[in-house]
């Protein structure tokens, strides 16, 4: 079980390989791996997006990500889980978030992966500000 908040761009696929290498006890024990990667698109609500700034509340964010993954592993039989979330300045096509669930069977892997990304979106304190041709705008925060 690992959670990381990172300031720099990361390669989700390399992170999965690295995690599996660091957890040799996993080998042969899982039949299903469900992965979600959220990536910054170059358009949103009809506007070209040039960059995004992702603000967070460091200790609270980490605490809530840990709680979410703990909830997921208590609800479904999960062999291991990896969550990585960016913060800071992002460019289009850069990964924002990675959620990986290793499990014996795919029902649990999909359910836990989906749970974490859905809950993360509504409970983890992150705020997005997009840079478009019209300037900076906060996402989902009517003044």
């Amino acid at each position: 079980m690992k959670i990381r908040l990172v300031a720099d761009a990361f390669d989700p696929w390399q992170e999965i390989v690295r995690h599996q290498t660091e957890q040799p006890g996993l080998a042969g024990k899982f039949g299903a791996t469900a992965v979600f990667v959220g990536t910054l698109r170059d358009f949103n609500q009809g506007e070209a997006v040039q960059a995004m700034s992702l603000e967070h509340y460091a200790p609270m964010t980490e605490k809530h990500l840990e709680r979410l993954t703990a909830e997921a592993t208590s609800r479904w039989p999960i062999a291991d889980m990896l969550v990585i979330h960016r913060y800071g300045e992002l460019r289009p096509n850069e990964p924002i978030v990675l959620v990986v669930c290793w499990a014996a069977h795919r029902d649990s892997a999909f359910a836990a992966c989906r749970y974490v990304i859905d809950e993360l979106k509504t409970r983890a304190p992150f705020w997005k500000q997009e840079l478009t041709g019209k300037g900076r705008r906060w996402v989902g925060q009517e003044k």
Partner: protein
């Protein structure tokens, strides 16, 4: 004898500050903290946390607590 207050994202910009340290005297709950820091009524869509846990306006606050106010969160990706 103080409470640390933090503001994030558009709320930080709107209030023109990211942090306040206020005297805990006379502070009973989250709503009191807001009133001590902001000149405007507590907006409906603003969330609060006490010591990193989501909190309601009537949640008690005591000396040494960290209280945060922020807009709806937008983590992850849809």
């Amino acid at each position: 004898m103080s409470i640390t207050v933090r503001f994030f994202a558009s709320l930080r910009e709107r209030l023109g500050k990211g942090q306040d340290i206020i005297d805990s005297k006379g502070i009973g709950n989250v709503a009191d903290v807001w009133q001590a820091c902001a000149q405007i009524p507590f907006p409906d869509n603003v969330l609060a946390a006490v010591n990193m846990e989501y909190a309601r306006a009537d949640q008690p606050v005591t000396d040494g607590d960290e209280v945060a106010f922020f807009p709806p969160v937008t983590g992850g990706a849809r």
